[in-house]
């Protein structure tokens, strides 16, 4: 039974997308079905299941881009669903949303996924669990698509949790090493803690509105539902806490750097298109809740502060990492901070635009890092250096990715970061107040740090002399082609939205039945863009000054060793230690042991004492009662099961009969008591 509903009342220019939208349920379903194909038949296929995984991503990429193109000419807004269960007035539905926001995500997951999956064929060659890897990897993408296509909060939670499961399996892919499993558990559990927030938020909002459908909830917001207004702050905050987990916002960010334990393609997809984008996506999906007056507008200030803290603090940590993947991981955290800050500033388009561009260059940077690691057999930049000659394509694409990330004109990151800065600046004059002004300063400082650590990564990896012991070589074509593809996208993706000149992306994203109510700048803010660019160039210059010189040892090249600050950064602000010592260890250790002790000695002790006392009492009170009859009944029961009864009776010396007999006589006395006294 398929229920079809097309929404076009909100904006007259929206279409229902026709057949392409009606069949869009295939987008999450095809990867999930092919995943089962890989699990059951993968090992027997000529390419060990990779071909099915690749086919899934190709399908999603083509479908996503087709929708994107169609959406660009005519805005699409469509929703379909199938009923799964009904409880009272509450229905559980599986459905799919095809609108500007979800189409953008389909395209990003598909395109980046296609690049990463292609690359992974080369990277994972010879892996012990090659087929299994692609099954889990396909599930990872499929789960993300379930999340993105969700027309209701319940399905979103389903996708959300499945993404968590897939990430757990992939991070702990090399489970022979305990550290990797610990990292997988950490990712899953930190996310699970934040998920409590998500669950509570979903329930608060769903129960208050009386529906879990986004369309119903957003409609209630548009109508100014007063019941929802009362709970909107707590509901919105709880949802945002959920988002902070998946999108790794401070202080939930600790799982993400450890998640580097997974194979590099996993890191690439996780940081670019799936998983970490989920939180930002959720905020985007529920955006009117945070943007409409009278609802959760106050949560935006929290978002802005959390985002600013994340972008600044984690950016600094990236400066002291030796592991190239960790540098990129912390830079992802920092960039996610930008996205969340933008959402907090009420900039729906700017935040999601940065998600869009970031997906390409961060996916690219991770793949480049993987290519380098593949060549030198080490994650550490102290084992690298001078690789630009041996690995020309990796070098070129890494450079493009780095410059895009640093926000250098005219690459992708420049446009999206500039738009975020402009939005915060606008917000500081329109309700954001002092917080927004301070955050703007932090965001600009963050741009400097970004350029600074990326310059460091480029110089330490590709310049100077090679420090390692392997024989670096360029990766095979199956790996370099995806790099080039993503490199091109990293260069041009920013042109999708240039204020005042071409506002395509803004319109794509606006293809939703509801009005998002965010501000769009009429033209480029040249002053702010200039400042952003200048700061980035300054960061590169400073990085060049510090790290370009050749030096004999890595130690000397990495001269950024300021006392106090360096150890604080190297220890990640001691947050992991704090969590371990203040939360995890007490729960696993003293608290659990104490509870267990109470359980054994107090509760069970009471039970045992009670047992002893009752035996004692029953002996005294019922001595006169003839227990033969009762004994007889029990003996009968025992002999019915043969000699078995004797065995037990022997070991318990018949005490059980005494207990039971006593209890039954007691029961009879109780009844008599009841009857007399009532």
């Amino acid at each position: 039974m398929v229920m079809l509903a097309a929404y076009s009342e909100g904006a007259a220019h929206l279409t229902d997308g026709g057949l392409l939208a009606q069949w869009a349920w295939l987008i999450p379903v095809v990867p999930l079905v092919l995943m089962f194909g890989i699990v059951f038949f993968g090992k027997r296929l000529p390419m060990k299941g990779w071909e099915l995984a690749e086919a899934a991503m190709l399908f999603v990429a083509v479908y996503g881009v087709a929708l994107l193109v169609m959406n660009a000419s005519d805005g699409i807004s469509y929703e379909g669903s199938v009923e799964i269960a009904r409880i009272g007035s509450f229905t559980l539905e599986w459905g799919w949303v095809v609108d500007g926001l979800s189409i953008m995500m389909y395209a990003v997951v598909g395109v980046v996924g296609l690049a990463v999956f292609t690359y992974a064929k080369g990277y994972m060659k010879g892996d012990v669990r090659y087929t299994w890897f692609f099954a889990a990897f396909t599930m990872f993408a499929g789960a993300m698509l379930v999340l993105v296509s969700a027309p209701n909060l319940i399905q979103l939670v389903v996708g959300w949790e499945l993404v968590g499961l897939a990430s757990y399996l992939l991070i702990a892919h090399y489970w022979e090493d305990h550290a990797n499993v610990v990292a997988g558990n950490k990712a899953f559990l930190v996310n699970k803690i934040a998920d409590v927030g998500l669950f509570i938020g979903v329930i608060i909002i769903g129960v208050t509105v009386g529906s879990f459908r986004f369309s119903d909830i957003l409609e209630a917001i548009a109508d100014g539902d007063s019941a929802l207004q009362q709970v909107a702050f707590w509901g919105g905050l709880a949802l945002f806490i959920g988002a902070m987990g998946k999108s790794a916002q401070f202080p939930f960010h600790v799982w993400l750097p450890d998640a580097m334990a997974g194979p590099t393609p996993v890191s690439s997809l996780m940081h670019a298109a799936t998983m970490v984008t989920a939180g930002v996506y959720l905020v985007g999906r529920m955006f009117p809740l945070f943007q409409t007056d009278g609802f959760a507008v106050d949560v935006k200030a929290i978002m802005m502060v959390v985002g600013a803290l994340t972008l600044f603090l984690t950016g600094l940590i990236a400066l002291v990492q030796d592991d190239i993947k960790k540098v990129l991981a912390y830079s992802t955290l920092s960039q996610l901070g930008y996205m969340v800050t933008a959402m907090g500033a009420g900039a729906y388009t700017a935040g999601l635009f940065h998600l869009f561009t970031h997906a390409f260059f961060k996916g690219l940077l991770f793949l480049c890092a993987g290519s380098v690691i593949h060549a030198v057999h080490s994650n550490n930049m102290s084992d690298m250096g001078g690789l630009r000659k041996a690995m020309p394509w990796t070098y070129r694409t890494f450079l493009i990715g780095s410059l895009a990330l640093a926000g250098i004109f005219p690459l992708a990151g420049f446009w999206s970061k500039d738009e975020i800065l402009a939005s915060i600046s606008y917000d500081s004059g329109h309700g954001g107040g002092t917080i927004a002004t301070v955050v703007l300063g932090v965001a600009i400082a963050g741009a400097f740090i970004t350029a600074f650590y990326m310059a460091r990564a480029v110089y330490l990896t590709f310049f100077g002399e090679y420090k390692g012991h392997a024989h670096p070589h360029e990766s095979p074509k199956v790996m370099t082609y995806p790099l080039i593809g993503l490199g091109v996208l990293s260069a041009v993706a920013g042109f999708a939205n240039i204020p005042g000149i071409f506002t395509g992306f803004t319109q794509w994203l606006a293809a939703r039945p509801q009005v998002m109510g965010d501000h769009h700048a009429e033209s480029i803010d040249f002053v702010l863009a200039g400042i952003g660019l200048a700061v980035a160039l300054l960061g590169i210059a400073a990085g060049t000054r510090l790290w370009k010189r050749d030096a004999a040892t890595q130690q000397a090249r990495d001269t950024f060793r300021i006392p106090v600050l360096y150890p604080v950064l190297a220890n990640k602000y001691y947050l992991d230690d704090l969590y371990a010592k203040a939360v995890v260890d007490p729960i696993k250790g003293p608290i659990a042991r104490f509870t267990n002790w109470t359980n054994t000695y107090v509760i069970d002790g009471v039970v045992n004492a009670f047992g002893a006392v009752s035996v004692f009492l029953s002996r005294i009170v019922y001595q006169g009662v003839d227990q033969r009859g009762i004994d007889l009944a029990f003996n009968a029961a025992a002999s019915a099961t043969g000699e078995a009864g004797d065995a037990v009776r022997y070991t318990t010396s018949g005490r059980i009969q005494q207990y039971a007999g006593g209890l039954f006589v007691g029961a009879v006395l109780l009844v008599v008591g009841f009857l007399i006294f009532t």
């Binding site: 799964i84 269960a85 009904r86 409880i87 009272g88 509450f90 559980l92 939670v157 389903v158 996708g159 499945l162 702990a172 489970w175 022979e176 305990h178 499993v181 558990n185 899953f188 559990l189 699970k192 803690i193 998920d195 409590v196 669950f199 509570i200 329930i203 608060i204 769903g206 129960v207 208050t208 009386g210 019941a227 009362q230 709970v231 707590w234 729960i587 696993k588 659990a592 509870t595 267990n596 359980n599 039970v607 099961t641 043969g642 078995a644 065995a647 037990v648 318990t652 059980i656 207990y659 039971a660 209890l663 039954f664 007691g666 029961a667 009879v668 109780l670 009844v671 009841f674 009532t678």
Partner: protein, 507 residues
């Protein structure tokens, strides 16, 4: 629907089976278990027939059989099945063949063992179907005996201690409940004694009487569930019970408590139920968190699973005493879910115990390398138990959270943290048992699951997946009965079930 007394047949079939087993000559003891599995499959067939013939969308009892037994006391053979008991009966009939098939490790007194198992099955099904309080009580007690022997004879080293503890705990509850039943039977009817559940529904009990009777019934059920702080018999019983005993204990026996709470306490004592709702919710939430925390430190994997049951059953009780459609329905569904996942976990623990003769988590490590199929199934079931969407645990748990949020928002939020703790103890156990390098030499020689063992688990895995993806058929059957109970409560008291879209007062 036919006139065939299918419900009586469900009770009588296992008893006949037990008698048939006694005919097998002692020297042919090797055929006892196959025959027992076959006999329990017949019962399963009857249960499936019941499931198919059951009319969904009907609130009342179906397939009712009623004959008078002893008129002056109003005792009768009265059986019936509704949406609440239906799935539990089917679950019972489903788990017994599996438990018996997993018992091939039993070498000692096999015939007696199989007889005890089949009698246990008859007793459990009788409890679920009985609509006469005395008949119910007879089954309730009758079922104790074979379970006591199963733990006490075929159990582990401290089996006698565990069996006696089990017996005493439940007998204590039974004694008080028996008093309650007699009191209710003689005073609940209109002047004439009656033990008929349906007739007792109309009894007009004073508030005080309801309160005491709620306690008398509730204690027995609370011990069985078990609700904190009556749970300490459970881990001992589980650890010492043979694998099949644990499967039945966790899979079905614990549900009898929750079933009793719904069937008798909610229906017969509505006022007391409404009054005591916060008390039980507090105990439920304590149980959820407490059970999970204690599970974290267990070094014995079987004890860990046992404590996880305390936590999961806490969810069920919270859902039941949320007194909302969603909560109650989620609670009933979660009983079935817990029966499947925990049953499977105990089977898995039994399989590794057979190989290594230890259940200490520290004795394992890196097992996934030697036993990939076993590890995969273990992880699958663990995630089902954690409540991963797409597997059965999620739907029930989420409905319980929604349902309890409607009436008890703060408790619902506290309970939500139990979801995290469940992930902690299971994934941590998985990590220690299955990943990393193999450190203990004996583990190097381990064999992965045999095809027979996989086949034993396969039906459970299939149901876990089915109920996770498409719970509608189950929920459709539960809903009308649950609604009628809540309707009764609303009519009998001034309790009003909170509705959607009206919650306005949050912290």
């Amino acid at each position: 629907m036919t006139d065939f007394p299918i419900l009586s047949a469900l009770i009588v079939l296992p008893v006949l089976g037990a008698l048939a087993l006694l005919l097998i000559p002692p020297r042919r003891s090797e055929i006892v278990l196959p025959v027992a599995v076959g006999l329990s499959l017949i019962t399963l067939g009857a249960a499936v027939w019941l499931l198919v013939d059951f009319e969904s969308g009907v609130a009342g009892f179906q397939f009712v059989e009623q004959t008078s037994w002893y008129e002056p006391w109003g005792v009768g053979w009265h059986l019936g099945v509704d949406g609440i008991s239906l799935l539990l009966v089917v679950l019972t009939a489903f788990l017994f063949p599996i438990a018996l098939a997993a018992s091939f490790g039993v070498k000692h007194r096999v015939r007696e063992y199989a007889v005890a198992m089949l009698l246990l099955e008859a007793g459990i099904i009788g409890v679920f179907l009985a609509l006469d309080l005395l008949v119910f009580f007879v089954f309730w007690e009758a079922m104790l005996v074979p379970m006591y022997f199963i733990i006490g004879i075929w159990g582990g080293e401290r089996r006698v201690h565990a069996a006696v503890k089990f017996f005493l705990f439940t007998a204590l509850g039974s004694a008080v409940m028996f008093a309650g039943i007699l009191f209710l039977g003689f005073l609940g009817g209109d002047g004439v004694p009656t033990f008929d559940f349906v007739r007792l529904l109309d009894s007009d009990l004073s508030r005080t009487a309801q309160f005491w009777l709620f306690g008398a019934f509730g204690l027995s059920f609370a011990i069985k569930v078990p609700i904190f702080p009556f749970h300490t018999w459970l881990p001992d019983a589980h650890v010492e019970a043979p694998t099949a005993g644990s499967v039945i204990l966790a899979g079905v026996l614990l549900k009898l408590g929750a079933y009793g709470l719904i069937r008798f306490n909610l229906s017969l004592f509505p006022e007391a139920s409404v009054d005591l709702m916060p008390v039980l919710a507090v105990l439920a939430v304590i149980g959820i968190i407490y059970g999970a925390i204690v599970a974290i430190v267990q070094s014995d994997i079987k004890r860990l699973v046992a404590y996880s049951s305390v936590s999961h059953l806490g969810f069920v009780v919270l859902g039941v005493f949320a007194l909302t459609t969603q909560g109650l329905q989620g609670g009933v569904l979660q009983m079935v879910n817990h029966g499947l996942t925990t049953g499977a976990l105990f089977l898995l623990v039994g399989m590794i115990y057979e190989r290594r003769h230890t259940r200490e988590i520290s004795q394992f490590g890196g097992l996934a390398a030697r036993m990939p199929i076993y590890a995969g199934i273990f992880l699958f079931i663990s995630f089902a138990s954690i409540g991963l969407p797409g597997l059965n645990g999620f739907v029930g748990e989420f409905f319980i959270l929604i349902g309890s949020f409607l009436s008890l928002p703060v408790y619902a939020m506290l309970a939500a943290t139990g979801v995290v703790l469940a992930a902690v103890y299971l994934l941590w156990a998985y990590q220690r048992m299955f990943t990393g390098p193999i450190t203990v030499a004996e583990n190097r020689e381990l064999r992965d699951l045999r095809i027979g063992e996989v086949l034993i688990l396969a039906p459970i895995l299939a149901l876990v997946l089915f109920l996770g993806i498409y719970p509608k058929p189950a929920l459709d059957r539960i809903e009308p009965s649950v609604d009628s109970i809540l309707e009764r409560i609303e009519n009998a008291t001034d309790y009003e079930m909170p509705q959607w879209g009206t919650t306005g007062d949050l912290p």
